[in-house]
């Protein structure tokens, strides 16, 4: 009887840590943080940092769900339209009934419904994810423009609590974000679903062969995106003074950029829960800093593009380097 030689365990703890997909993002975040603190005026002030966190919140909330969809090997680009429609639903119901919490509940249900539609299109009907969510992106935005195209919504104080209020001194949106983060962290590390998502994204055929309900896993991932959009929508309403039917355009760009910046691989099966958070913080810090140095807002798009391209190039080079080393 022969025994095989084990793969040599030469992974020191540091090496293992450095091999994490979100490691470069962490380093970059540290560099940015230190750099900005030193060179950007009024960056390092509590007010500014809290403000940055508040801006990050809606992006981060949705990015956590999109991160999971990408780990599952799929993609979703309909978030902007979903958030916009849900924001209007929320604001409308909250204004009409005066009960923002009831409105939140209904919005959640709607968000779940939208996510389910994406799920059905992508899993049951077999439409490639990018096309399916492109379709819902257009349909939802179009429907919103038809229904509310001429409206500018000014939400009342009460309706805006999810983006404007505080609980125990901490902004509500930060609480929501923390809740969502804890949910995803537990899901990833302690739940059967979290393991299944990695399996489905890593090798869908094999997952199916060992009995994992692949379509169900993917379906739920889409529903989660819908739910998180529903959680982010009231925050939007709270943070924005006046809302038109064009709200959230370009949101999906920011969310996907967030996930990519954090290091999650678009090919699936690999990623951490921390990644989108790092990405969201990075993104907000950079945008915040550009605002602080008085760059005109039209430059936001430019900066975003440059950041994405640099990080893309960096990830690409790193991946090639790792390939060569193995």
């Amino acid at each position: 009887m022969s025994s095989s030689s084990a793969a040599v365990q030469d992974h020191s703890l540091l090496k293992q840590f450095a091999a994490r997909p979100d490691f470069p993002a962490l380093v970059f975040l540290l560099v940015v943080f230190v750099g900005f603190s030193l060179f950007v005026p009024s960056f390092w002030s509590l007010g500014n940092l809290v403000n940055t966190m508040r801006q990050t919140a809606p992006i981060a909330i949705v990015a956590l769900a999109v991160n999971q969809i990408i780990i599952a090997g799929e993609i979703d680009i309909s978030m902007g339209s979903m958030v916009a429609v849900l924001a209007f639903i929320f604001a409308g119901i909250s204004e009409a009934t005066g009960m923002p919490w009831l409105a939140m509940a209904i919005t959640l249900a709607c968000g779940g419904a939208f996510g389910s539609v994406n799920g059905v299109l992508a899993t049951v009907l077999g439409i490639p994810a990018i096309i399916a969510t492109l379709g819902t992106l257009m349909i939802l935005r179009g429907a919103l423009l038809i229904g509310a195209g001429s409206i500018t919504l000014y939400a009342s104080e009460a309706t805006r609590i999810f983006g404007n209020g505080r609980i125990v001194g901490v902004p509500v949106e930060v609480w929501i974000f923390l809740g969502v983060f804890v949910y995803f962290a537990l899901l990833a590390s302690q739940s059967r679903y979290g393991r299944r998502v990695l399996a489905v994204g890593g090798n869908a055929r094999a997952a199916r062969d060992i009995g994992i309900p692949v379509n169900a896993v993917r379906f739920w991932a889409y529903v989660q995106v819908g739910l998180c959009c529903a959680l982010a929508a009231p925050v939007f309403v709270g943070q924005v003074a006046a809302m038109t039917a064009n709200v959230g355009a370009g949101f999906e760009l920011k969310v996907i950029a967030t996930v990519v910046l954090g290091g999650t691989s678009l090919s699936g099966g690999r990623g951490t829960v921390l990644a989108p958070v790092i990405g969201a913080v990075l993104l907000s810090l950079i945008l915040n800093a550009t605002a602080l140095v008085r760059l005109p807002p039209t430059f936001e798009s430019l900066i975003l593009g440059v950041i994405i391209l640099i990080s893309v190039a960096f990830i690409g080079v790193r991946a090639r380097h790792q390939e060569r080393a193995s």
Partner: protein, 507 residues
């Protein structure tokens, strides 16, 4: 594990048939599987091996007949039912999760145990994984990601997963396909242990010597029917092939033409690519078939890739007909009259959704361009001629190549590579996954190549093939060239020992 004495029937296929429309994929298969045995399942592609095993494992529902477990008829609605009955399939392709660690892969889709605080009890899962591996007589670091394991160890993890489900019948489809000889031996040790534990192994393979060396019984399928079964002692290679093919084939192949060795066509001098292969030197002459043997991972395909410019070497020289060349792109080697048949025909060679004629002409489309445009007529004529020459059996040249059998696909690929009439032909596993009938046809084609004065480098993992065809055999081991044998010295022992690094013999 069970206590039933070896020799009693554990599972059985009873008159199982599977129909697709008017076509029977397998018909009236009545086959028993005993405790504690290894039974080989032989047959050409399309014989029904896969279908009958899929019925056994619950992947398909038989159109007629039934499965028996311990003498009781059962009905499997889903693979999971068969799993619960102790039947597991170890497919040929990897169905593991490369990014996940070994213990997760072994545990598969089972529920994870939880600690008192409600979190996952990873320690227990790891422990269980180690236990299963020790049942196989193997020790691996269970924390390592599967993608970092060798193919042999990955195969062991696949088996471990099945054992973790307490499988009593393991259906292994070409388990040694991606394994070196040494690793195959180790695998067979593991299989023997499993057999001693009272389990049953079904060994599906094209490698007949494995059946003779390691199986107790053999069953042969042909055209969907069970044409022979019995103890292995009742068969020899010739009768086995006779049952499989339905006609007499005495040896694997006999070379008919003896060709004088021509001038040196390809000279390789001290070619090296650190970490992959080092200091490779040999000369390939026109009119000769130079075999290239070695274990998987020895670096043969990588050497071929360097020779054709797909993944160039770093140091050393390549000379074509005496002139030094540098190939940085495949096109450059093609221009110097080198043709390469890639190892994996589906992922590296063919464009599956496109037609036979499209595929045949693709590598040398320039030949069919008239006035700036691709002439479909010229292309079709060429494809028709090639199909005749190479014996491609297809209803039409417009048929998608994905629908052809493995043998025919390989012939199309060969026609494509030879379309440019290269003088140096490098063939990488030209008969892998090809049935016996098509194999001998391909051998005849190879012989014709050298008869025309071409130089052939034949990379193959099948000893028999090399022994039958090659004039000389070069052997690689861990990236080095350990031996080059002339015809009289070519046999299983010399090749095998050079391939495992135990002997060097360089002229």
């Amino acid at each position: 594990m069970n206590n039933a004495p070896p020799g009693t029937v554990a599972y059985a296929l009873r008159n199982v048939s599977k129909r697709f429309g008017p076509v029977y994929a397998c018909h009236d298969i009545d086959l028993e599987f005993f405790h504690g045995e290894t039974i080989g399942l032989a047959g050409e592609n399309g014989a029904g091996k896969s279908t009958s095993m899929k019925c056994l494992a619950g992947w398909m529902v038989p159109s007629a007949g039934h499965i028996e477990v311990d003498g009781q008829p059962v009905r499997f609605g889903a693979p999971r039912d068969a799993e619960l009955a102790g039947i597991a399939v170890i497919p040929q392709e990897l169905d593991l999760f490369p990014e996940l660690p070994v213990y997760e892969n072994i545990h598969g889709n089972l529920k994870w145990p939880r600690t008192r605080t409600g979190t996952f009890d990873r320690r227990q899962v790891r422990e269980a994984a180690r236990n299963v591996l020790s049942l196989l007589g193997v020790s691996l670091d269970v924390n390592v990601q599967v993608k970092e394991l060798s193919p042999a160890n990955q195969k062991l993890v696949q088996i471990a997963r099945a054992i973790n489900l307490d499988a009593r019948l393991l259906i292994m489809d070409e388990p040694t396909a991606a394994l070196t000889e040494l690793e195959s031996d180790r695998l067979f040790h593991v299989i023997n242990d499993l057999r001693a534990q009272g389990r049953t192994i079904v060994h599906i393979t094209h490698k007949l010597d494995e059946i003779f060396d390691h199986c107790d019984r053999v069953a042969v399928l042909r055209d969907g029917e069970l044409v022979a079964q019995g103890a292995i002692s009742e068969f020899d290679a010739a009768t086995l092939i006779l049952h499989m093919v339905g006609r007499k084939v005495s040896r694997l192949y006999e070379r008919r033409i003896s060709v004088p060795r021509g001038p040196a066509m390809l000279q390789v001098e001290h070619l090296s690519k650190p970490g992959v292969f080092s200091d490779i030197s040999f000369t390939l002459h026109g009119g000769e078939i130079l075999g290239l043997a070695g274990l998987i991972g020895a670096g043969r395909s990588e050497l071929a890739h360097a020779l054709v410019g797909f993944d160039p070497a770093e140091t050393g020289r390549i000379k074509v007909k005496g002139e030094p060349q540098t190939f940085l792109h495949v096109r450059q080697s093609m221009e110097k009259s080198i043709g390469y048949l890639p190892e994996e025909r589906r992922s590296q060679g063919l464009h599956l959704p496109y037609s036979v004629s499209w595929n045949t002409s693709f590598a040398h489309l320039e030949k069919f361009v008239r006035g700036g445009f691709v002439s479909r007529r010229a292309e079709h004529e060429f494809a028709a001629r090639s199909a005749r020459e190479f014996g491609v059996k297809t209803a039409s040249l417009d048929m998608e190549v994905s629908l052809l059998s493995g043998g025919n696909q390989q012939k199309v690929l060969l026609a494509k590579v030879l379309a440019g009439e290269p003088e140096i032909v490098i063939l990488d596993e030209p008969t892998r996954g090809v049935d016996v009938g098509a194999k001998s046809e391909i051998y005849a084609l190879i012989e014709q190549l050298v008869a025309d004065g071409k130089a052939v480098l034949l990379i193959s993992s099948e000893m028999e093939e090399l022994i039958a065809l090659a004039d000389r055999v070069a052997v690689m081991f861990e990236g080095r060239l350990t031996a080059i044998y002339d015809k009289p010295d070519i046999n299983q022992e010399t090749i095998g020992s050079a391939a495992s690094g135990q002997m060097t013999h360089v002229q």
